[in-house]
Amino acid sequence: MGVVVRAEKLHKTFGTLEVLKGVDLDVQEGERIAILGKSGSGKSTFLRCLNFMEMPSSGRVYFDGAPVGTSQAELCRLRINVGMVFQSLNLFPHMTAMGNVMEALVSVKGMTKAQARAIASEQLGRVDMLSKSESYPINLSGGQQQRVAIARALAMEPRVLLLDEPTSSLDPELVGEVLKVINALAARKMTMVLVTHELGFAYHFASRVIFLHDGRILEQGTPDQVLKNPAEKRTQEFLTGFNEFSF
């Protein structure tokens, strides 16, 4: 079990607003990390710094022990290895589901279309979207689109998958099908870092829960430790806010 991705003293400032105030994290091979925290705590920004969707203001990201530079070549290499699924789905609207999954296999990895199609079919099958492979995103539900987006990310065979609130933009009845797919990945020992508001899912999914508050990691541990017996007052308050409604 090695460290795949390491974040070291990550800071991120937007204008005068300091969103991340020095966050460290080691993501171990096979780990499933759930990052929780209030809106504005910096959890999405932190996740997005791990694959440089946001440029950290300072600090370093390591992949397989080597620091990642900011040249385009290094960023592209990192992003092939560290996949991402977005809250806003972001399928390419001018391509079918199949086209979405094949695209980077051909244009980034240089595969032939036949090779790409074979891999894309397999990935679409795993998220149960093979029957819709020739549909355009506009004709798919949010849940279906997100499953295609997951297949698209996995087709690149990343070592780590980052999931940024993957169910937040979905209608409630579509959340389950996406969580089921993520759960299946967990069963296959995929290394994942998930930012979510689904506490119940985080509890069952995660091998480690991190609570972020005001740009810092306030508390982390097993789901039982953080979600059932939080040590910090702010974590307790955060969980109570949820419990009033959902438990």
Partner: protein
Amino acid sequence: MSYTFDFSDVFSNIDLLLVGVRYTVLLWIVAFAFGMAVGLPLGLARGSSRRLLHLPATAYVEVFRNTPMLVQLLWFYYAFPTLTGWQVPTFVAASAGLCLNTSAYCAETFRAGLQATGRGQYEAGRALGMPETTLLRRIILPQAVSRMLPAFTNRAIELGKMTAIASVVTLPELMYEARIMTSNTYRPLEVFTVVALIYFVTIYPVTLLSYWLEARQRRSA
């Protein structure tokens, strides 16, 4: 109305006007192709967050959009030989103004179209490890082109008419030939009636093409 139309002088010299049309069309094609080719990198630079790219591109675009085309054309016509000591063919001098002016307009269209493509599309491409050029070619431009199409076809039609300005720098295009013919025949009404017709017949197909392109796009959207 006592005026009697007499087209005989115009028709007996119609070959001069037809030679002019060839220059008009050539100028039109060259300026539009150049404008598109240079407009894309220029539009990218203009939309860039890097000052070193953004500022010069902005200066270029604003100069050409905020000075008269006629002044630009004359400026290049006189600037080439005077400043560079290089006696360029009239066609080059005449097309320089049109080319640069068109590239500035196309740059703005590209910039607006690219910026209107949502941030999520850029991020989705980058997250898959796409280099910026691949991202642009495979993801962003195909989506942006449909938004840009009306602006580009509009510009193409405008440009077709604008080529007439090149007559002031003695490029023997249609308008120039018309003025020569007028001074030789003293038949301006006949000459410009025929010339207007020739312009219409030349430019209208492009207008029809633009309708067809837009209709095709509506069907595919």
